[in-house]
Symmetry: D2
Subunit: 377 residues, 4 copies
């Protein structure tokens, strides 16, 4: 299947370049009867949009979404839902100097080797702007998962550069521009970012996403495991360089007597697995972490080459996020929602008639190592 | 697409349970004209097979592979290659007691909720035995990639429990049962594993895989990125809980001025990206790491429940790897090979006519942080 | 894969309802470097558009296409090409009376059973208007096939109701509103259609499409045969009820000594197979025929039921084609182009390195039974 | 997706050559809990197997199937079901003379252009032997459809060469080697076939398949229409050159006032549509016809060329069916079953929550034109 289509049954076909006419997508396979308005989608887009604080790009994009099809009298009809977001604030002039050079850390060099050509305006297809489309499609998935199963998917920033961010509350997340679950640490994060910017540099971040309410049984046993599809989804986000499920790389030095989550009639006693056993959901919270690299576009001299192979020194100026991780939380939530709805549909396709051997046991409050309550709707 | 099929153009359809009649797969889409014998595949299977040291399961499985189709007069014909491995050493009696209980850390509970039924003998489909099929299919991919492009894919264990294993040489890898790239550390690893076993416990590990020789331009820009497909492939291996590309989680606290790999006419000056820029190969080495959880099957009392929901205490005895990571290196290599061949075919499908703007520049010897030479054929 | 996506490597994701905001599609996987403008696409759309003669629907739709992405400086970039056609002439008022009834021969009844809801305005998603999107996407495929391989794909009406239309010339096709390859028969066809309309009825038609210049070797041997994918593509067009390759149903009473096309050094001696042998192109012309049913929307009293299950008599008035076959030729050409480009890419993905055992032999002028010259560019 | 995989959710991955070690397939996505034994599959295979009368090939193949996986304690587990049929009666010596020539009407020429190589023994992958695998997989689909929905799928030969076969009864079908629904015509068919054979020739046939009991709502509205997928499935069978749904090519000269099936509270008044409206099942019988070409392998001198491009005269001797249509009925039934189960699963994936606006109305006894009662279980 071509590379711009996500999903098996609930599919998202993405299109658009940063400085072209528009970006958008076609969502196909959505169950009918879901109440859906442009406002439902806009609310999620607004969480991701640029220009909301001094710590992100100052590009002004309202990211206003138009639903072109698939919704009739306020409800989904089961046919493709096309979403369109016109580009507005394109300063193509800013980018003309990068036409013949390859920015370090960017996709310029690899795109040209792949296609022989690239839309160099604003990174074209490789721009982080493309992620707006994921958030829009994810909004539909989130709404269906919430209404049908009560599933809640929420993320937060757990680390900014060297600063680990202790989880304090879900409420805090929406009250700062960092999606940090901790109000007290905000001044420290702001000072840190101001320093990074003043040094004309950028920095990485770590994002966590937790989904609660997933019934046991979603996923596939071998290749299309729920966690494999999550890893694919997260690593497909611009700038992500690592993905963990549950304890992630913490398992390397872990004993089996610690890792294997014990079961009791009252529920699981811990959640080291992160809600997935053998590729299939256990009913516990799904816990995902990801590493976001520092923005490659920085106003410092960097070595590169031009299209003739000559050495050049180049700075990347313009309006760039000094930490792309700051706006990544809604994107990560959206991608998790897209994976989950796809597996929800796959599960009932094959197994609608299954009678489980016993009722689902509870996912108890996560253990001490990971003292984060399940997000609530 | 159903969940037991891997790949888009070079597909692997896997089948078989640990204690059923056989395991195997169908490889479809292989280019014709590749010289291929059962020996080519057997050599890779023998690297993974159980019983080669006291540190792995003592199950005796020759894992003898039969090619059923798709090869004629010693060469692939372009039609499906079916591979069959009959199961031999099935001690089903060992497993009867787990029929009505759910082993902690295992897929038992999630399988029953998904399917309402499971083949409980030896873990059935969720057994690590399934990975033999991946190694067999991967052997075909590896051979084609090597012959067509000179690509070399090699892995090693970089950490066993608390013990980090410094890279010494590629030669060392094949000379010990751990796939450790360091001869001197072997006695320490052996003592460590003896201790783990004597404590009736298990332990995690970290595996690294490096592929060299990949042309720039493989991958897709948005969803089916090369790194996203690698993350999917690796996370689909039993027991993997985390995947990193390039510097992985190291990017969280990294500056953009460090991370973005500079280009010079003589080549890239570093490889923090791990060989993938914007989802597309850059021509540098592809560097992947993964975290393998400790085996859940341990002979210690663990809390669980039975199918009636009653609490039970259970030990998992039988022949289990105390560290599944020890045999994971050939599996990780195989999965990387399967991703790469698929993208090799995808690339020439769309872009066979592309003339790149300049010749590929070298991937220089990796920088100081990651002092591992590229593997050679 | 969801049901609104066509193709494996060159994919078309279609969206839009007859009376919604817009129709359109996303074409993904197009090779880069193809010169492409909106005019290239518009030319094909204009061949299909309504209102060009009194024999088709009088709906006024300019069907003006906008390219939203994937084209930069006049050439395709290899990234998704989104095409948008805004709906203009929507007289939703015309359709309100069908909201609670099921038009005989229409998809109303089956849609409601599938989705529980339908966009009843103008047939919604099941409207023939959806085929404009296929023509737009097909225009891109046609252009690439023509420029890369010199492939020509042309269709014509071979029968209108009881009137068989003898093939006279390709030139004639573009000179009448019927796509009839015969200038002399036009007055007869016009009189026939006037009679059908005056009787408040509709009529079927037969369309033939011929593609010339296809290299031997395209297709797959078992399921995704070239002819199987053609049959799928053609039967997916609204109103098509039968598809033939080569001699089609003529083979039922044919002898093997007649059917098997003999080979000589100068070329094949006949083309009963229609250019496909064992699912793979032979290099001869690909010949496809299809049967188009009469329009179901006719201004006659017909028995039906309403949503409460009560019997009703209903006429379908409004602006309908009395013979949907009249505008079907460009659609059939487009679908054949979409199948061919997909298999062109698949072929070079797997078999780019193949050296054929001998040069391709000519497809000789078709034999007497089928005296139609190959279409020329 | 590679070309040897059929289906989206219920997938069949086929492998094997006529004279290789074995043929077989992997069925993935089958719902769990279906009682299944090798006998269930063998019964269908025996209907198709060669050597049952003097009118078919005398190759002796027991076609004994082995289930390798996916069934535990007599029931499907939801994991891949691998089916293996070892080849037995391979007389490779018979075929050596065709190694360097291209049999007219066969895939030899197109295979060599595609792959540069072919397994020339018995047609290799293009042999009609491959269809045994479809029958085996279809047996599983048939059983599930029957048990879950009461769906019955039955076919018959409706024409042999020039001889139309009037439908008399379903009982007659199983009582003759032709699958003819008419006992009285058998002597005529036998004499006809004896004549064809004595003239060293072969002949075509027409097969009809009817499925009853399909709920309304299966299928997709645009590309993956139920009838489009049926056309694909049928045209993918060796030797099929035409496919019709409902009235098929009869619609060309049909009026809309005849074609559109009227609805009444008691049911549909006719079934010209063949059970599919707008690509979605209407609940009426699904009616499919297909044209099977005459066998290309005939013992007459035919013109061809060899691999050096020289002209040759060749006869194809050996054990061939003089009418491949005679054994095609079980294959056509199997393919229809595979399409239906796939759409059954797709339908409940997306639309499990749909409440239809009114109960399904009956499919009345088909009208006079098509006086065939629905098949009963």
């Amino acid at each position: 299947m071509s590379g711009s289509i996500f999903g098996t049954l609930f599919t998202v076909t993405s299109f658009g370049e940063s400085h072209g006419a528009a970006i958008g997508c076609v969502v196909d396979g959505c169950p009918p009867g879901l109440a859906l308005t442009e406002t439902d989608i806009q609310l999620e887009l607004d969480r991701r949009k640029p220009g909301t604080s001094r710590h992100v790009t100052q590009r002004k994009e309202p990211d206003a979404v138009e639903i072109l099809s698939g919704v009739f009298e306020g409800k989904t009809t089961g046919t493709p839902i096309a979403l369109l977001i016109r580009n507005q604030d394109q300063k193509s002039g800013d980018y003309s100097k990068i036409m013949n050079t390859f920015r370090p850390g960017h996709a310029d060099y690899s795109y040209e080797h792949k296609y022989g050509v690239r839309d160099y305006r604003g990174g074209g297809r490789s721009s982080a702007r493309e992620t707006a489309v994921r958030v829009a499609a994810g909004a539909i998935a989130k709404k269906w998962l919430s209404e049908k199963y009560g599933i809640v998917i929420r993320g937060f920033m757990s680390q900014l550069g060297e600063i680990a961010i202790p989880f304090q509350s879900w409420e805090a997340v929406s009250e700062n521009a960092f999606f940090a679950p901790n109000a007290e640490i905000i001044p420290q994060l702001e000072a840190y970012m101001d320093k990074i910017r003043s040094e004309r540099d950028s920095i990485g971040a770590k994002i966590d996403v937790i989904a609660t309410g997933i019934p046991p049984g979603w996923g596939e046993p071998v290749f299309d495991r729920l966690d494999a599809d999550i890893a694919y989804a997260m690593m497909s986000i611009n700038a992500v360089k690592g993905v963990e499920i549950g304890d992630g790389f913490g398992v390397v030095a872990q004993r089996g007597s610690v890792h294997g989550d014990e079961l009791t009639p009252a529920g699981f006693l811990s959640n080291h697995a992160g809600g997935v056993l053998g590729g299939i959901s256990s009913g516990q919270d799904i816990r995902v972490s990801m590493a976001i690299k520092p923005t490659s576009s920085i106003p410092q001299d960097r070595a590169s080459i031009d299209r003739d192979g000559n050495p050049v020194q180049m700075q990347t100026t313009g309006r760039h996020d000094p930490c792309v991780g700051i706006r990544a939380t809604p994107i990560a939530e959206a991608m998790l929602a897209l994976v989950l709805i796809d597996h929800a549909l796959r599960q009932r396709a094959q197994n609608a008639d299954v009678v489980a051997p016993l009722p689902r046991i509870a996912g108890l409050a996560p253990d001490g190592q990971q003292d984060i309550p399940s997000p609530k709707a």
